[in-house]
């Protein structure tokens, strides 16, 4: 636990003060077999920072954020999350995973559990929170993502946008210090995208550290501190959103932006 972290009313460590280092990625390389998927990635994320990653399909965006909670294993370099280095030590991995929330493109809710049970599962079994408290926390976050009335439904009975908001609530129930989003809106119909983005914007405004793979440029402009453009497994350009969008330096970035903003 971070020594400077404060404790909030619910007894959980609050988000660390801005300016602290949350994630350090240094000279990180990743291969899938012989395929060099990530090449010399260097990235430091500070607490409270919101980072948007974009880039063409297959450029390694998902792989990069999946390395942060070790859903993928990197082969070279170091990743330090919240002061803990990611090694093959299972204890460290489980600790980091419980501190880092993740939302997937396809929500990945547990279909055999109700919305509420989805949100209560990890706090109960990982954090050993008493059932009653876990239920209160779950309801708190379901209210926050504005679907408390769906608490007793199964994921299959919800719309895509609702499912993604449940997935966000499920992650938040673990009181994560960092949230990773992997194209959270790209499987959604346009009218549902807004409700999910609104939830994420709210989260950002509360100071959550976020790394977000998305092509929602409006969202990036609005909340990102930094936008990172990736191509062929490398970070090609990194800048503040205004600069990034109005004045992209690299040819690849320009091409990419013209393609996604052009039509």
């Amino acid at each position: 636990m971070n020594p400077t972290a404060e404790v909030d009313a619910l007894g959980n460590a609050s988000i660390p003060k801005p300016g602290e280092v949350a994630i350090v990625i240094k000279d990180m390389n990743k291969w899938f077999g012989a395929f060099h998927a990530l090449r010399d990635i260097n990235l430091t994320v500070y607490s409270g920072e919101r980072i948007v990653i974009c880039g063409p399909s297959g450029s390694g965006k998902s792989t990069l954020i999946r390395c942060v909670n070790r859903l993928e294993v990197h082969q070279k370099g170091t990743i330090i999350v919240d002061g803990t280095e990611l090694t093959s030590d299972l204890k460290n991995i489980d600790k980091i995973r419980s501190e880092v929330g993740m939302c997937f493109q396809h929500f990945n809710l547990f279909p055999h559990l109700t919305t509420l049970e989805n949100c209560m599962l990890a706090p109960i079994w990982v954090r050993k929170v008493p059932r009653k408290e876990a239920r209160e926390t779950a309801m708190h976050f379901l209210e926050k993502v504005k679907i408390p009335e769906q608490a007793l439904k199964y994921p299959g009975q919800l719309s895509g946008g609702q499912q993604q908001r449940v997935a966000i609530a499920r992650s938040l129930c673990m009181r994560p210090r960092i949230m990773l989003f992997d194209e959270p809106t790209s499987a959604l119909d346009p009218e549902m995208i807004k409700e999910v983005l609104d939830t994420m914007i709210e989260l950002a405004e509360e100071g959550m550290t976020m790394i977000c793979v998305t092509h929602e440029m409006g969202f990036a402009r609005k909340v990102a501190n930094r936008v990172i453009f990736m191509d062929e497994g490398q970070i090609v350009e990194q800048n503040e959103p205004e600069e990034f969008f109005s004045n992209p330096k690299s040819d690849r970035t320009q091409l990419f932006l013209s393609q996604i903003l052009g039509h």
Partner: protein, 425 residues
């Protein structure tokens, strides 16, 4: 109103469906005579059913329940229903049904297998039906020992000490931090309690009359082997399936080897190994119960199939489920128990129940190594000079009994699927 714009003025009220959609007439038209092909099939099937019943019903009904031998039975049938009438000799069932049910279990002790069976239903019910109070699961956990003791009899201290050992071990294990130590404590306490049981028996002999395995037979034997096999093969199959899909090379190799070996060998071979070869490997003088050996073989055999059925369920789960569980920080066993297995088992229910049914019917193979299961008993009854030549009645009875058990399992699986369907979208 022109062709392109339209605004509804009044909202239509709901009406009941047209009559052809409702009632028996509507149902029959829809389902039996919906098309020419459908009508032809309906007529053909109905004819087949009628012909079958016309042949079999007289045989079933024009029968004798009282004769004491096959020839006497035939006489009675032709006396009563006329020359040349073929009727069933159900009297063989009347005479031998107790034997078919219990084998050579002493008749004054029939209450023991009956009680065991009733308690079995009680022990299974909380496992099968979630609406039954969870506290009864404690009884389900103790039941194997109660059932064993009731069937085989002997000193109560053996089974009792093992249960006590488990209870003490589990209680003590809760105060131990590491899982390995917990298991060690459990094994140690069971072992110690079991060692003590011998002294307890000499100090305070409490027990019921012991029964030899050789005295057991009939459906008692089938149900004992079948139930034990079913109850054990599921968890073993789950472990094998998990092993086969795991990243640990050695574990994976062992599981694959085991599954492929067992599946590649006929069950009869395994039963012969159990009945003859296994004794060669035992230290001389050890008396390793034949039924126990058979149960082990049947369980291993069914586990291999079970493992493959469950592996199918595991493979059907999207990778995202594993990833979501990992991302929440659940460790391997928790994610398996809480996220993966509930879904994988649900997908595999039809396959699992098929394997159960197959296992239960395969218990008849034990007649080949000389155990007197219902089929083995039928053979010996047919060898009796009184009943020499009787076929359909005996095997029909055996088939009916097996059908009842298997059909019950099948219905339960359908019930379970329907119940779990609710959460399925």
């Amino acid at each position: 109103m022109d062709g392109t714009t339209f605004v509804r003025k009044e909202i239509l009220a709901a009406q009941s469906p047209p009559t052809s959609e409702i009632g028996i007439g509507g149902w029959a038209r829809e389902n039996l005579f919906g098309s020419v092909f459908n009508s032809v099939m309906t007529v053909l099937s109905a004819t087949a059913v009628v012909l079958f019943l016309a042949e079999s019903l007289p045989w079933i009904l024009q029968s004798s329940w009282t004769a004491n031998s096959l020839s006497e039975c035939r006489e009675r049938i032709s006396d009563r229903y006329g020359e040349g009438v073929h009727g069933a000799c159900w009297s063989v069932i009347r005479e031998r049904y107790l034997q078919m049910l219990f084998g050579f279990y002493p008749s004054e002790l029939y209450w023991r297998p009956i009680l065991t069976f009733v308690l079995l239903l009680g022990a299974l019910s909380p496992v099968l039906f979630p609406s039954i109070p969870r506290i009864l699961l404690v009884f389900s956990a103790v039941y194997p020992f109660v059932g064993y003791w009731l069937l085989w009899g002997g000193s109560i201290w053996g089974p009792f000490s093992i249960v006590a050992g488990f209870a003490i071990g589990i209680f003590a294990g809760q105060h131990v931090k590491y899982r390995i130590a917990m298991i060690a404590v459990l094994i140690l306490s069971v072992y110690l309690c079991f060692r003590i049981s011998g002294y307890l028996q000499t100090a305070a002999p409490v027990g019921i009359e012991p029964i030899e395995s050789a005295q057991m037979g009939g459906f008692l034997l089938s149900v004992t082997i079948g139930t034990t096999g079913i109850v054990l093969s599921l968890p073993i199959g789950i472990l094998l399936a998990l092993g086969r899909t795991s990243d640990l090379l050695i574990v994976k190799a062992i599981c694959v080897g085991f599954i492929e070996f067992i599946r590649g060998v006929p069950l009869i071979t395994l039963l012969f190994v159990a009945s003859t070869l296994l004794n060669l490997f035992m230290p001389p003088g050890t008396n390793f119960d034949l039924i126990l050996r058979v149960v082990i073989m049947v369980t291993l055999f069914a586990s291999a199939y079970m493992a493959e059925v469950i592996r199918g369920g595991l493979a059907a789960l999207p990778r995202g489920q594993y990833e979501a569980a990992d991302a929440l920080g659940l460790d391997y066993w928790k994610s398996i128990r809480l996220v993966i297995l509930p879904q994988a088992l649900k997908i595999s229910i039809p396959g699992i129940v098929s394997t159960f049914i197959g296992l239960f019917k395969d218990t008849t193979l034990v007649s080949i190594i000389g155990l007197l299961d219902p089929l083995g008993l039928s053979t010996s009854i047919r060898a009796d000079s009184d009943w020499n030549g009787i076929v359909w009645e005996l095997y029909g009875f055996v088939a009916l009994m097996f059908f009842i058990f298997c059909f019950a399992m099948s219905r339960y699986s359908m019930y379970l699927e329907r119940k779990l369907e609710i959460s399925n979208h």
